[in-house]
Amino acid sequence: MSWVIFAIVFWAMGYWANYKLANGAHSQSRLVKLAVPVIFGVTIIAVWEGLVRGLNVPHVILPPPSSIAERFASSLDILWVDFVQTFVKGALSGYLIGCGSAFIIAVLIDRSPFLQRGLLPVGNFIAALPIVGTAPILVMWFGFDWQSKAAVVVAMVFFPMLVNTVQGLAATDKMQRDLMATYSASYWQSLFKLRLPAAMPAVFNGLKIATTLALIGAIVAEFFGSPIKGMGFRISTEVGKLGLDMVWAEISVAALAGSAFYGVVAIIEKGVTFWHPSQRG
């Protein structure tokens, strides 16, 4: 019972603190903007811990954060192996291959408005489909190991990246292209000096979307078959064993990996597109 009271009190305190901060004098400062969501997150975890323990929720249904943390700390080696298998070998390689080829193909079809008019609608259509469904087929072709997972990732990231890059290359306005014409610039000069730099914001938008898709693709593909390692594999087997604290530990790794991956791409974006209004705040 005391746990439940703890949860309620913590919630009240957290809410009061955030209310004061959000409506107070310094609500626009960077510190406060960081503190409020952090307090919110910590409050959720504390309430979670309190309610699960206080209401005696069975740990196989919903483990408290403390036991998840314990499992996390004691399984670092397994978590690391799973991480390497799924993220490094599956998601990352698929990401690089998929985004790289999409970028190159977008540049290649740049010279053909006919191809663009055909590929763009088809690409948009394919990007909206449940591509994860191709996982069993790709497992059949590429085997159980990380190659099929990378293949699923390539299938998932290729079309969104292609569509974004093509849109980016079209982002220059007529005036800029006229200016290039007055210099009698060649197609390649115009491409490298004007259109590629101008395309970077859209390209990075695609790269950021692709980071999420890559991780999802790699994990879900493992639900369809995998050697005895990998985050998706671990999740589905531990779920079968009702070892939910391990599942949550894997999910935490996935969450960390996902946000870190996105964060790295966002940092690179800030460097490359420093000039764009969205980066200048």
Partner: protein, 291 residues
Amino acid sequence: MRSILPILAVVSAIVLLWYGAAVSMNSKWAQDQAKRADVELSFSELVADTWSQERPRLPAPHQVVSELWKSTGEMALKGRAFSKRSLIFHGWITLSATMLGFVIGTGAGILLAVGIVHYRVMDMSVMPWAIASQTIPILAIAPMIIVVLNSIGVQGLVPKAIISAYLSFFPVVVGMVKGLRSPSMDQLDLLRTYSAGVNATFWKLRLPSSMPYLFTSLKIGMAASLVGAIVGELPTGAIRGLGARMLTGSYYGQTIQIWSALFAAAILAAVLVGIIGLIERSTLKRMGMSQ
């Protein structure tokens, strides 16, 4: 409409490449069979064989289409549309979970967005998490949710719907917040000169301005809900639904079954997003906001 020709060209090219790939990928099996029977295959016999195997590595387009027809239209004509082998049946299972989840997720998302736009506390505490959650592979939670809910007796439709709801929730929140905040300062100031309250501002300005953003989020949310429902059918070895169909197909090596289920899912996704698109076009046209 001048896009019709290029689209047709691209699609025909894809179909042609597909047929060619089917020949090259299925030929090994065909050659092995022929060697066992001590028979030499001519080229045209090889091609014909690779396009009509029972468990091909890569089914030819017409094989997929005919299987699709056999398990949908043909069955419907025989009055067995909802038998266990019909893709209409499986599609319906997946669709109902998708729709339920989509409605819940969208409704909750819009409500949360309204809260975020009007209450500072919610904005500063929840919004960063909503944005951050888009970088987290939420789909990885699917098996857990299914199993946990099953163990407390909630089975079948609802757990899948919850996954779908969760997947459509965040895109809708982020999109709606952007939309509700899209009116310019000038617009908001004008309403203030009329002494319009928060309610009036919401219904007369914010909500109408958010329509384009809402529809974009709906399309993303719909596609995500469908994927969620499909993935939700995987963990417990479900036997009903399009995802289940793909899973059983992969267990028993029935590749044509996998492909036809995948195509059925794709068609379902296209139809659902297309319907939203149609509603979008007519709504925006009536509001004079069509591009």
